[in-house]
């Protein structure tokens, strides 16, 4: 994948989203098979089967505590860093189980990037340093760092705001700008999948809109999986939606999944209908 593919992402047609919301179902980038997850003795997810088609946006929705964040952390092997973490089933990326013994978790985390709820740029590094930090931290070699910085910041919708002060500390940026910087940082290592765990929950509406534009544009290149509590956001940005629910005393599972228009417009399950209409959660 060449880095030039990120060019020209700024012009975005919000009206066009409705039509583009249903991509043709392409080849599968990632999928989980019968995935169950534990923290110690507590089972938090059970029997999750979801597939994520290439270059689409999938929203994971559901009330707090239903295991969405845990689920997303199993997709790039961050879950295993928590003491007592365990899992059954498989997470397939390009057809291979990423939990196979011979898979290097570092390689997986480079191919499957992640953006967190709270913007977390490295405060002691400059803006430029943050964008390139993934290369430095992982020891990945890429040429033309200036181009990488410009392309990824452009793709994250931040270039015009920071191009004259790339040497400033990242801590000087606003929360929304920091979150876009973090997206640029994740893109610099050229991931195929981008996981986003409530990326806008700490941001103001204007910043949220910018991030959503960015997500729409990025989905032309990368597969995006986003956890969100914001129903409108799920409708605005995603092609597919999976609804997670943890009923009292039982682990979280997927109640319903499918095209976002179906989940929100014509859900098959009463619980989904209630949730997307804000009757609980």
């Amino acid at each position: 994948m060449s880095t030039t593919e990120y060019e020209g992402v700024m012009e975005l047609d919000i009206e066009g989203i409705e039509q583009s919301a249903l991509h043709q179902v392409g080849p599968t980038e990632m999928e989980t098979r019968d995935l169950s997850v534990w923290f110690g003795h507590r089972k938090v997810l059970e029997g999750v089967n979801i597939s994520f088609p290439k270059q689409t946006v999938t929203a994971l929705i559901g009330p707090s505590g239903c295991g969405k964040s845990t689920f997303i952390r199993t997709l790039n092997r961050l879950h295993e860093l928590i003491p007592g973490a365990a899992l059954a089933g498989a997470v397939l990326y390009e057809g291979q189980d990423i939990y196979d013994g011979d898979v290097d978790p570092v390689h997986i985390r480079l191919k499957i990037g992640m953006v967190f709820q709270k913007p977390n740029p490295f405060p002691s590094m400059t803006i430029r340093g943050n964008v390139l930090s993934g290369l430095k931290l992982s020891g990945m070699k890429r040429d033309n760092h200036d181009d990488i910085v410009e392309q990824t910041l452009t793709a994250a919708g931040l270039w015009n705001e920071v191009k004259d002060r790339l040497g400033n500390a990242a801590g000087d940026l606003s929360g929304g700008q920091q979150q876009r910087l973090v997206i640029a940082r994740a893109l610099a290592v050229q991931p195929h999948v981008l996981l986003m765990d409530e990326p806008c929950s700490a941001l103001d509406p204007a910043s949220t809109l910018k991030i959503e534009e960015t997500i729409r544009e990025l989905s032309k290149e990368v597969t995006i999986i986003i956890v969100t509590h914001n129903m409108q956001q799920a409708v605005r940005v995603s092609d597919y939606t999976a609804f997670f629910l943890a009923e009292e005393g039982s682990p979280g599972h997927v109640v319903e999944q499918g095209a976002t228009t179906e989940i929100f417009g014509n859900p098959q399950e009463q619980r989904t209908l209630d949730y997307v209409n804000g009757r609980f959660g």
């Binding site: 790039n76 961050l78 860093l81 570092v106 390689h107 997986i108 985390r109 480079l110 990037g113 992640m114 967190f116 709270k118 977390n120 740029p121 490295f122 405060p123 002691s124 930090s133 993934g134 430095k136 931290l137 992982s138 020891g139 990945m140 801590g171 973090v182 940082r185 994740a186 290592v189």
Partner: protein, 323 residues
């Protein structure tokens, strides 16, 4: 309306502490704070006044030469070698203690199971509680003869490096052994501070580096250690402050000689200001020698003061950068 509101500017500071209990408490705390300042100033003034005669009789050579001949008139004494020795011993201690302490802290925070790390924390605190005289005795009877063998090996295989030269064949009472004892005293301090600082690395940043495919090593190198640098340097300086002033443990193991041992760290003989004072104090020949010793103490005091000020500068500067 207009006749109720007061137009003049009112100072609200006094209003903020108008509660009587608060006033008493504030004054007590302020008084206590100034007491410690007064004690510090008192010590400095006392030492400063006492060291005037040393300068009158010795001039600047008190600081630039090395020797302790009290029988000439005026006595020819100079503490350069001792001041230098204090620094050298502390430096040797740091070279040994810093890597050990930082690695230990990294292990406790990022690698060891929580239960083990709690046990280690208690053990290390216990290590800090060993009185230095006990440590000195142990070093004299156990460490000295053991370390003699290490130094023989160092000399045999690395003797071509000037600092590991030994021409006398005497490997006892060397700066290396004294520095090693100081390292044992510094390790608990530096470890405790470093562990505290590293355990405060924001989880957000650890998450970020893990998600970027970071190994533990690169996470430490680029995230945790830079983040904690200010605190770690502060811990090192605390340890250094202790090492510079440490007297009795060094006195047990170091062969005190009144000449400057520049760099022969495994050659017998060396000195430090604190051991100079303790070695001469018992058999002091008269008021002038006592004042000379107090003058030496004055400069030790100034040296540790400088170390602390520099430490504070470093800590506050790195703190600013992080913000």
């Amino acid at each position: 309306m207009a006749d109720v509101s007061q137009v003049e500017r009112r100072d609200l500071q006094s209003a903020a502490t108008s509660h009587r209990g608060d006033r008493v408490f504030t004054r007590t705390v302020t008084g206590a704070a100034f007491t410690s300042l007064a004690v510090l100033a008192g010590i400095a003034i006392f030492l400063g006044i006492q060291s005037i005669p040393a300068f009158q009789t010795q001039g600047l050579s008190f600081l630039t030469t090395t020797g302790w001949d009290i029988n000439t008139d005026p006595p020819t004494v100079g503490i350069f070698g001792m001041l230098y020795g204090s620094v050298l011993l502390a430096f040797i201690g740091l070279v040994i203690a810093v890597p050990a302490a930082v690695l230990l802290a990294v292990f406790m925070v990022f690698i060891s199971p929580p239960r083990l790390s709690r046990v280690l924390t208690n053990l290390i605190d216990l290590m800090a509680a060993i009185p230095s005289v006990i440590l000195g005795l142990w070093a004299f009877y156990i460490l000295n003869p053991t370390a003699e063998q290490w130094q023989v090996l160092l000399n045999k295989y690395l003797g071509w490096i000037p600092i590991f030269e030994n021409t006398s064949g005497n490997f006892l009472g060397t700066p290396f052994i004294a520095g090693f004892v100081l390292a044992i005293m510094m390790i608990p301090i530096i470890t405790a501070v470093t562990r505290e600082v590293l355990s405060r690395t924001p989880p957000d940043l650890i998450n970020a580096s893990e998600a970027l495919g970071c190994s533990l090593w690169t996470m430490l190198r680029y995230v945790a250690l830079p983040y904690g640098r200010g605190g770690i340097v502060g811990g090192i300086m605390l340890g250094l402050g202790r090492a510079l002033g440490e007297t009795i443990a060094v006195f047990f193991v170091l062969k005190i000689v009144f000449e400057t041992n520049w760099d022969k760290i495994i050659e017998s003989g060396g000195g430090s200001v604190a051991t100079l004072i303790v070695s001469r104090f018992g058999e002091v020949s008269g008021p002038l020698e006592l004042q000379l010793l107090l003058a030496a103490g004055f400069f030790l005091f100034i040296m540790t003061l400088i170390v602390n000020v520099v430490a504070n500068l470093i800590v506050s500067r790195t703190g600013r950068l992080q913000k």
